[in-house]
Assembly symmetry: D2
Homo-oligomer: 151 residues x 4
Amino acid sequence: MEGSPYQPPRGAFEDDVHLFAVSVYFEDTDLSGIVYHANYLRYFERARSDMLRALGIDQRAAIESGLGAYAVTEMDIKWKRPARLDDDLLVISRVETVRAASCSIHQRVMRGDELLAEARVIAALLSPEGRPRRQPVEWIEKFNAVLGKGV
Amino acid sequence: MEGSPYQPPRGAFEDDVHLFAVSVYFEDTDLSGIVYHANYLRYFERARSDMLRALGIDQRAAIESGLGAYAVTEMDIKWKRPARLDDDLLVISRVETVRAASCSIHQRVMRGDELLAEARVIAALLSPEGRPRRQPVEWIEKFNAVLGKGV
Amino acid sequence: MEGSPYQPPRGAFEDDVHLFAVSVYFEDTDLSGIVYHANYLRYFERARSDMLRALGIDQRAAIESGLGAYAVTEMDIKWKRPARLDDDLLVISRVETVRAASCSIHQRVMRGDELLAEARVIAALLSPEGRPRRQPVEWIEKFNAVLGKGV
Amino acid sequence: MEGSPYQPPRGAFEDDVHLFAVSVYFEDTDLSGIVYHANYLRYFERARSDMLRALGIDQRAAIESGLGAYAVTEMDIKWKRPARLDDDLLVISRVETVRAASCSIHQRVMRGDELLAEARVIAALLSPEGRPRRQPVEWIEKFNAVLGKGV
């Protein structure tokens, strides 16, 4: 089933994993003919942003109200297989741990059944001055709700 | 209506215009808080690539078979209003002229009724050696089919 | 003559033109094997930022003090020849017109004597709220000083 | 000491570490006002490419001759402190291990004495078909030469 052309790409949760589809464009590739390694981080980030939206966490409102924004503080990535122009990819994200001021998220980029890349990401909430700050209780509850859905 | 989370973003033609939805992510913005000007060119290119796909023109097959690829040779852009994080944008593309070796395309980025940016783009088909080459007759027919749908 | 490895790339004025050297990396290329068209806008912007620095205009201080930032409002670009990995490029920028709230700048990307791309760019000073604002008198004087150096 | 405006940025070895200077531009930042996390991977890659050049390894010739190209297969990164517009950064790279088909490289992004980010990177030589291949003996010797210079 296709979305409307007026409808921007949106992912969704299925049980405890968040699914987000990505298509590969010229901008993503490099002269090796495959997706440039750093661009997987952009795919991962789009998927995390979409996941926050799906959870009801409004990043833009958080920034504009002075609450702050998530920043990636650690990432451990493995690139397994290359993605190519026009490939349809799926980013699968799972919240693994929720701490007071940060979350740990496992993310994979799949092409059908093939694992192309995977990462473990730590994202910390930072105040506008760049200091770590506690995540709002409602946000932690939202994360825990999807943690709880796991099998 | 939402698309499936397994379904990557796809646009579609409505009469002679092609519609392609884009969402704004962190990667697109700069420290002014708005989308970095050069990133509109990425939105335009995604929309053109999707338009080719909607027309049945397979860019990847064309590259792999040695036919060549489209390259942008001219662009005239105006940025009117800024886009911001989480904005849902719509790229509206219209093929204006089809020549032997190139096309002229008019593209706009809209946020609802607001025009954020518009461009006139010349894309030329280049051989793998970088020389202009005639577009396949079937491709020209496909372009003419949507040209003919205009009002 | 080489710069120090501790010294980030800096351009300089020669008479009325500003020169800024750029090297092509993997990140700049796409699967066609050449520099992705939108990335020339990044080269142009680095060169303009360096030009402002060479003129003694501190963009970061202007943003942090609430004065505002330049935004590109119009661009007319032609891509003539492709750039490739490891190419050494030179961006040549010339301020053409200075108005109350904007400047017009002509920019070229050269590889030796070959013209690879050229653009005419309008950059307008915008307040933090995104409204056009008059450029400080000292800035206009700085621009006029290099305008006056032309032949 | 400044380099010539005609001279693109080049790093250099000092004993066993390779130094490469980077300046932060608008394109590098996001709406948080700091450098977008994925862009550090671009800095790291520019530094590695420059390191290969300093060692006398010609990546473009290797690609064009059909030998292949390095691909990043693993990366473990920590972001410690944010970089901002106009910051002058130094990427410090050290080859840690050289295997038959890959190298392990430690990289840091510094602003003066401050560590902003660090990464451990595995880069593997891949054939044009994407298969791991042994690095040429002369390349391994070049890597070992800088390994041997360590203290």
